[in-house]
């Protein structure tokens, strides 16, 4: 049998994924994380009497801390399985990817385990985040002069 014919059989028995449902779940759960973040910014700037820019850093730190804590407590992965990209795309996903890798590799010691593997998933985000920031920074510098 040719590969193409076999692919036809595979396709025929491929279950349909609920893309729209998954999209809505991710939209709502991701939106909720956004609302919580905005709520935190408002609360911090109101109660601590600090500018919104500083409050947003506080809010980010809070979300990262909470996501890491929930990962360590062992139930954040179950939320990710349900909410899917709603929790992976926001900053919570970044924190979760590092904490989960950290927990996983701590058994191999602080250097060869934790140290070398904590960026296993987040490494790509950091690398390409820095590279794209540099590119857009250069574009801005050349076109707008800084």
């Amino acid at each position: 049998m040719r590969l193409k014919d076999y692919n036809e059989i595979v396709k025929k028995h491929m279950p349909t994924e609920h893309r729209i449902r998954n999209g809505i779940i991710a939209f709502v759960s991701g939106g909720l994380v956004g609302i919580i973040g905005q709520g935190l910014i408002d609360i911090y700037s109101y109660f601590l009497s600090i500018p919104a820019q500083d409050a947003s850093i506080f809010a980010t730190v809070t979300l990262v801390f909470v996501a890491s804590l929930f990962t360590a407590l062992g139930f954040f992965d179950k939320w990710v399985t349900i909410c899917k990209c709603g929790l992976i795309i926001p900053i919570t996903g970044f924190a979760h990817s590092m904490t989960s890798a950290g927990i996983e590799y701590k058994t191999e010691g602080p250097i060869f385990g934790l140290g070398s593997n904590i960026f296993k998933l987040a490494g790509s985000v950091i690398l390409y985040g820095v590279v794209s920031a540099w590119i857009f920074g250069m574009i801005r510098f050349i076109i707008m002069g800084g």
Binding site: Y6, N7, V10, V80, E104, K120, L121
Partner: protein, 346 residues
């Protein structure tokens, strides 16, 4: 031409199907993890754990312990000590098959480590059977293990990451399973076996292992039936390893289209039998891993053969020879399948 003609059998070049006259399965032992315990075969396992760590410190050590315990239980059930055993054959999924070596180290017995991914259990049985048929070995234990978490860690993402998976994904089973193969007559006879080839049907999706392995299973089943001059209905049951519910459909369809053989009436898949697929949604399309088919066969199927409810069974353990590195390098996922035919002895 009779394929069992001694001449052909002795030269062995024309076919990779072997007939055994004097090989029996004497005893078996299974140790399962928490997800398997919740499944429908729970009462058939010799031991099962509620905790994925089962008292060990890491996932890898937990897996070796499962394998070790299955051998302990097997020796106890067979009323033997390690001095009665000539050879240990074992394999698992982890790099350098460490669960096997660390799990079996304490027995201080001659050891052959094998790797056939999820086809390892039958690969072990074939090697053991050949040694015994050739009278080079009298008693051999062959074991397999896998662990959901150690496999997730090695092949996919950190275990706490919980990345969403498509419906076709399979779930690595947790457990250790061992069988004692020897020339002492018992109720289960190893009648014949067929060694599988390496198959590549151009699938690159690591979340659809059923589609990767179905052609390997089909090829082995076809060659086995051809070499033995049998039809699918010769067997009470044809059982594949871990194709999962979609792979199972693909195999039935592919067997029909490619070889014009209908296996739908007496065919099932261990991956779909180990769990309650309607309730245990976390297992997606079904179980996988070397221990998946071993847990089903060594507990439930062997018992049915012993009780006489199944007289002839063809076990086709399927394995995806999968490496994340080669998949990232855009290579196809390869697969293999080995078959062993078991018969009830009256």
């Amino acid at each position: 031409m009779d394929i069992w003609n001694d001449t052909i059998y002795n030269y062995g070049r024309l076919t990779m199907t072997f007939k055994y006259n004097n090989v029996y399965i004497n005893n078996m032992a299974t140790v399962a993890g928490p997800y398997e315990k919740k499944g429908p075969l729970s009462s058939f396992f010799d031991k099962s754990y509620n905790d994925l760590y089962n008292g060990a410190k890491t996932w890898e050590q937990a897996e070796s312990k499962l394998l070790e315990e299955s051998v302990d239980i097997l020796l106890k059930k067979a009323d033997m000590t390690k001095e009665n055993i000539d050879l240990l054959i074992a394999g698992d999924l982890l790099n350098q098959i460490t669960s096997s070596s660390y799990g079996l180290q304490k027995y201080n017995l001659p050891f052959l480590g094998i790797y056939g991914a999820c086809s390892t259990s039958v690969e072990g049985m074939i090697i053991a059977s050949n040694f015994i048929e050739a009278k080079q070995v009298k008693k051999c234990i062959t074991s397999v293990s896998s662990h959901n978490m150690s496999s997730e860690k090695q092949f996919r993402n950190p275990t706490e990451y919980g990345a969403p998976k498509p419906k076709t994904a399979t779930f690595t089973s947790t457990g250790g399973a061992s069988v004692l193969v020897s020339d002492d007559k018992s109720k289960i006879k190893v009648e014949s076996a067929t060694i599988g080839k390496i198959t590549d049907m151009g699938i690159t999706d690591p979340f659809n292992m059923g589609a990767v392995m179905a052609p390997a299973a089909a090829d082995t089943i076809y060659r086995h039936l051809k070499d033995t001059n049998r039809t699918p209905d010769y067997y009470d049951l044809i059982l594949t390893g871990d194709l999962g519910m979609y792979g199972k459909e693909i195999l039935i369809d592919y067997m029909h289209q490619e070889y014009n053989l209908d296996i739908s009436k007496n065919y099932d898949d261990c991956g779909t039998m180990l769990y309650n697929l309607n309730e245990q949604k976390e297992v997606m399309a079904g179980g996988s891993g070397p221990v998946c088919s071993a847990l089903v066969n060594y507990s439930y199927i062997f018992k049915k053969i012993q009780e006489g409810n199944l007289k002839r069974v063809l076990i086709v353990a399927t394995g995806a020879l999968f490496s994340p590195t080669l998949v990232y390098q855009k290579q196809n996922i390869l697969s293999t399948a080995h078959a062993v035919s078991l018969e009830m002895v009256k």
